[in-house]
Symmetry: C2
Subunit: 380 residues, 2 copies
């Protein structure tokens, strides 16, 4: 495990934000990176050509969804996820755990794994650490996540403790499963990342980080955050964990965040992020701009000849007006979601470009405070 | 009326099919042409960039929809429909009549016009020949249609007779309204087409054609066909009318047709067509191919690694498999409609390219019979 993979920190700023290069068999990613979410082997509303045009260097796909439909065996038979969806750049898959906990019915969790019913047809399934790894090997993603135990927030301490213990146990089993596969079948072109849990307890977070780091994964994720707790708490926990994870491995904060928060996480040493926010908000007519959110259905935009964001260079802002976008949303047109998604994903990827540049020039703090000011002061 | 406009027949084949060039202020159109339908100032699922890439040389927009939402005055204030939707090529608008008859509630038709309630909010409106012309002038389409009386099929003879009489009266009023506008405001950069009615009565069709042709429009449409009658009847009526319309003016058969029927209409001397079929069918997972329809949701395509149409050169067929398209439709993904619409519109525009070439080489009859054979014999 590891051929064609590498991670290299090119520059670390005064507070610990890093620029790096993450190489995979499907291409090299500049970090810090934002990964658009392509749940069911598509980023909703964007073709793969559009994602390439936008400069997305890696996307995330959801193992839970693909396992249930169309099925990982079908995708394996068709040459893996890259070939199935005709996406030639890197893909990260989650373990499916988070979706089982948030979408599926009748979950029953034991040391073996988590038993659940599909939200699609009610069929019963068992997701174990080995199964989650097996599915992701079939999908052939560049980066796979171990199965972890996700718990609700706020969590009682004893439950958080048990989840940390189980998450470490499962991480070990997932790692051993893939090692065994490699021993039997030869080289595996996939990196497997461990996940740190621990809810909102600093000492549990630290303990989890130590335990998982000991398992020597090529990269580490921080899970179970940004699930309802205040942003300051997310930052506290992320900082505690990042400080304990090996500096030469990529750090991935799962499921974040709002536009103005991205730089905060990078400041804490995070290299990778993903979030449905830019795509989901776009479909709900919420557009992100350099001056804050634009709720484009608002009547004030009916005659507005300006682009969504006058400071934006995306192909939507170069061509279409707010008045037109507002009309498309009012009329419930498909094209509204296409254009809005394109813009929002561009906006997120552009923030990351600016963040990487700010690290280079040592002014990430300034960029971060400006983003916060705009998103508090800007029009809603 | 007429500056920057012209129509020139470049070649007529042995049976009367023509190739021509229709020049407008927004560009020149090669005829015969198929016009994708952009009802509410967007072709559902396609950006304007995609339409350009597909080679759409003219699109159709619906006056009824744009009048109700966002309103023609708003579009006028924003610089007209081309600027509103950022489409620089020609646009044809219908009169709104057909939609009033098919979508609106509580229609009441008098010599004055047609009174109706909006299907959106129940508000009451009067669409008169003058009003339909005024709205289209505000939209600034390159080609506008006169308001005609659309009747149900099959229609009793007396009703069809009355509709022919009223259609001619209304055409005269629409023409005079625009002439009066031109006299008062100077040059109008819009061509206005007359419409022939007459249901399925040959003599009424001929009478209507004679009456409308006498009004000396720069182009003529055949309306009220392809509304449920057999294809042979559509062809009979179209043939009767086309023979009586001036050979030096474009002829537009409204609302047609199925892929295998397009060449039949061209054979009868038709130069322009429009239809929601390629776009609507795409959204319902019905894909058109050189071998017939592919209902892509069918389980037989789950493992199918072929493109939608192996003979197709569109960007969707060059990149994606049937298995992937089937998955996207099964998962209800937005991207399914985007890719399917792109392919179907390419397929229609490509048929027209082949038809124009067949006219050039004098083998349209062969092309037509091959299309019919494929669409009867091909997989459904």
């Amino acid at each position: 495990m590891g051929v064609n993979f590498s991670f290299e920190v090119a520059k670390t700023d005064a507070v610990g934000a890093r620029r790096g290069l993450l190489a995979t068999p499907h291409g090299t990613i500049e970090t810090p990176v934002f990964m658009p979410v392509g749940t069911a082997a598509t980023v909703k509303g964007l073709t793969q050509e559009a994602l390439e045009q936008l400069g997305a260097s890696i996307i995330l796909a959801n193992t839970y969804h693909l396992y249930l439909r169309p099925g990982h065996e079908l995708i394996r038979q068709l040459g893996g996820l890259h070939q199935f969806m005709s996406w030639r750049r890197p893909i990260l898959t989650d373990s499916g755990g988070y979706q089982v906990f948030s979408l599926a019915e009748l979950r029953k969790i034991t040391d073996e794994g988590v038993r659940f019913r599909s939200h699609l047809d009610g069929s019963e399934h068992l997701l174990s650490p080995e199964k989650a790894a097996e599915i992701q090997l079939a999908l052939g993603s560049d980066i796979a996540m171990v199965l972890d135990e996700c718990i609700e927030t706020p969590a009682p301490r004893d439950k958080a403790e048990a989840a940390v213990r189980r998450t470490t146990e499962w991480a070990k089993r997932a790692r051993n499963y893939v090692r065994e596969c490699a021993r039997r079948n030869g080289e595996i072109r996939q990196w497997q990342f461990g996940i740190v849990q621990g809810a909102t307890f600093s000492d549990l977070r630290r303990e989890s980080a130590r335990q998982v780091a000991e398992l020597d994964f090529p990269g580490y994720a921080v899970g179970g955050l940004a699930v309802g707790e205040p942003h300051a708490m997310t930052c506290d926990m992320t900082g505690e964990v990042a400080a304990l994870l090996p500096a030469d491995r990529p750090r991935y904060l799962m499921g974040v965040g709002r536009p103005e928060q991205l730089a905060d996480y990078v400041t804490l040493g995070i290299d990778m992020m993903d979030c449905v926010l830019p795509t989901r908000a776009a479909r709900h007519a919420c557009l992100y701009t350099s001056e804050g959110r634009v709720l484009i259905k608002n009547a004030r935009y009916a005659h507005d000849r300006r682009p969504i964001d006058p400071a934006c260079a995306c192909s939507v802002c170069r061509r279409y007006t707010r008045a037109y976008l507002r009309h498309l949303f009012a009329a419930g047109e498909l094209t509204a979601a296409i254009l809005a998604t394109h813009h929002n994903v561009h906006f997120y990827l552009d923030i990351m470009r600016q963040i990487r540049e700010a690290i280079e020039f040592g002014n990430l703090a300034k960029f971060s405070s400006e983003m916060h000011a705009r998103y508090v002061a800007g029009p809603v």
